[in-house]
Symmetry: C2
Subunit: 446 residues, 2 copies
């Protein structure tokens, strides 16, 4: 067991293991601050990621350090939390053990799984290396290399057809991430034209494809329409009700039409992390573990699943995979555990308080919605920015965030555009071909 040494006082206290240092896991650990328990928070990285701004790392507006906080530093003064950097591989429910790569399993008395989601390709996992998704920091840095690398390659390319392929960006999925990334890309290309001698980045094509009948399905129709209009005014080619039928080394096929592109980004679907599989419980189509009203799983009141890796029903509706659900459900699981340890009445069923929904489109345009209240445009953007700065936490992180936004807005200066790869070979992770040596064969759409 890893708890050797320094915890004499609490050594016999119940041990709560939390897997995942995202919004849900961190909120749970913080909510156990004054509970008489030992907490071990396990994550495969050493940092908490402020996911809502991840797309701005992909375009070089923000530095990775601005939206990451070492998990340890969050619990500097909360002495009942031990942070462990390790990769969890499974759960032994009967022996109450969390299994990890290269380490002894850790025993728990209570377990909270807050392991999040990953990109889903709807049964086409072979598209993953061709159309990367954006869930982790490494993903976002990879996208940055792809996007900035594509402009570098376009500037060098003398064949007009190949150049056009490097200047074509396809985003699959018009949810909040797709719309935000499309808007951010359009702005990026307008910030940097003077730097290139052989291309005009403003002429880059950005195609945003959505299989469903409309963009931003979690927002009201009115706001979604406004957002699409705004994207179109920025030059984004928004195609609704069109499915991407194929992703290959040539680009994509959209509703029968071949679109050649060197940069296809996947912002469409997500599937839950394997937590449901570890537990052997019922999961929904997206792999989310079905939980009871108090967020514990069937027959195991000591195991909780929170955030977007859980299928949580609230007033008969499935809760969306947003930060607020993770925060609130993580906190709820922690409160339930604390009550049980203290032999107090448990808080009972989880009830979600919807603080509203928002997405940003451009420098001066965001949409916000809370029940009947709807906001769009500069006012929405102000609210969006304010709330993001507020929730980022850490005074110095907030200041850095504001400054990086300010520099981007005022001077078009972007914080982090460094890329190391010389010839773009290594910007493609696996099976995709080396840029520049690809044959220009014309394959029929499947």
């Amino acid at each position: 067991m890893s708890q050797n040494g320094s915890h004499a006082i609490t050594r016999r206290a119940p041990h709560v293991v939390i897997v995942g240092g995202g919004f849900g896991g961190v909120a749970a650990a913080q909510a156990l601050k004054n509970a008489p328990v030992r907490v071990t928070l396990v994550d495969r990285t050493n940092y908490h990621l402020f996911q809502p701004l991840l797309y701005q790392v992909a375009t070089g507006v923000l530095e990775p350090g601005t939206i990451t906080t070492p998990i340890r530093s969050l619990f500097r003064s909360q002495r009942n939390v031990d942070v462990l950097m390790a990769e969890v591989t499974g759960v032994d429910k009967d022996r109450r053990l969390v299994e990890m790569t290269g380490r002894q399993p850790i025993p728990y008395d209570y377990l909270i799984l807050a392991t999040g989601v990953q990109g889903s390709y709807f049964g086409h996992d072979e598209w993953a290396p061709l159309a990367p998704s954006m869930k982790t920091l490494a993903d976002a840095e990879f996208l940055r290399r792809r996007i900035i690398g594509a402009l570098e390659q376009a500037d060098q390319e003398t064949d007009p057809q190949l150049r056009e392929q490097f200047m074509t960006f396809v985003l699959v999925g018009a949810g909040p991430t797709g719309c935000e990334l499309a808007g951010e890309l359009a702005q990026h290309f307008h910030r940097v034209p003077a730097e290139y001698r052989h291309i005009d980045p403003r002429q880059a094509r950005i195609i945003l494809v959505e299989a469903g009948p409309r963009a931003l399905a979690t927002f009201s129709e009115e706001l979604a329409r406004g957002a699409v209009n705004k994207l179109r005014s920025l030059g984004v080619d928004v195609r609704l009700g069109k499915a991407v039928e194929l992703v290959d080394e040539e680009g994509v096929v959209i509703a029968g039409e071949r679109v050649r592109s060197r940069t296809v980004l996947w912002t469409a679907g997500v599937s839950a992390s394997p937590a449901g599989r570890w537990l052997g419980v019922e999961t929904d189509r997206a792999g989310r573990a079905v939980v009871g009203p108090d967020l514990s799983i069937t027959d195991h009141p000591e195991i909780f699943v929170v955030g977007d890796t859980a299928h949580i029903q609230n007033n008969g509706k499935l809760l969306p995979g947003v930060a607020q659900v993770a925060l609130q459900s993580g906190k709820h699981a922690a409160h339930t555990i604390r009550a049980r340890v203290l032999r107090q009445p448990a808080p009972g069923a989880f009830s979600y308080f919807d603080k509203g929904n928002m997405a940003t489109i451009s420098m001066g345009y965001a949409i916000m919605e809370k029940d009947k209240l709807k906001m769009a445009g500069p006012l929405g953007k102000t609210g969006w920015a304010f709330i993001h700065v507020l929730y980022l936490g850490r005074a110095e992180g907030q200041l850095m965030l504001c400054m990086q936004w300010l520099f981007g807005a005022m001077f078009g200066k972007l914080s982090s555009r460094y890329i190391d790869t010389p010839a773009f070979e290594s910007t493609v992770r696996s099976s995709a071909p080396v840029a520049g040596v690809r044959p220009a064969a014309d394959q029929p759409a499947s």
Copy 2:
């Protein structure tokens, strides 16, 4: 040829190819601003790196974006410069071509090579994967993962002997980089103790080994002694006149004594980039190309080598590999080219103006030296910080730098401590064993 399209006016102007976007290459390109030439600046990355602060990326004080600037953005308004991201592999002096990976060679009328240096292991290249050096941004980020990963591993380790190995850091070479990194490490370990539950980072051992009789050989004895005393007061174990005889998976052997360490960092020697080899000219022991008084090579007045990849004699002394030499020599080569193109008298022999020498040891201690003027302590540190902020350039970069220093100093907050590797396997680049499965065999020193 890559110059298609937009340069109608200057298409017949002489073509100057500059290889390397460091201090020398950028200074040369900038000095050609008003010359009637076309310039192509080639670098394998897309950024200019402010090398003097690189060691602060290795300890997480600074973000990579703070000390990198996209090369393109430096030449946004200098229209005679074309920036090309490519890997140069050789020079054809007779046909006047620069050869590159995966591209057609580029013809030149004038060539400036400013390709810098790399770590040198004095004939022991097999030590490179075991004891990484720090010349590139990727190196510094790799060191960050090593250093922060070692503390993570130490905190998890239950075997006291293994834990001690993770808590032992060996730096080979007490030049400016070694001393600066040792001081920075000592400070880092004093900033973060409250975050760990099973170790006290203040008890980490930092051993700085120097084979020569004294540290900081480019400084006066008095200043070097002061710096060593300061390092010792910070707890650094400075060992002068002791050679590292072996680096292996167990650690190092220092003058016959086996020291077990999981983190050995190489700050000892450098060797020049292969520019001398490309040109087939005489090189010195460190591989630097020997150049004439005007920095051109024998029989090829159109080829210049500048910065620390050149062996430059000044008043009978070899110039050191510092930023000022690169800046001034790059500028001199550019002025010579401009004079020749304009058929004006050439500036003649390069003469170095020594602006002084400096190194920082800790938050409040740096040494500076200019001829008879010597400074150490807080005043030296103030001067050091001022000069580094000044030379970093870019208003927003300067502000970010000041803020990151301020947060580090005031709150012990470090900007970029994110590491992604779960079990430290991938923190070792090549042949070194996986942490935790290494046999504890006791090998005799060779």
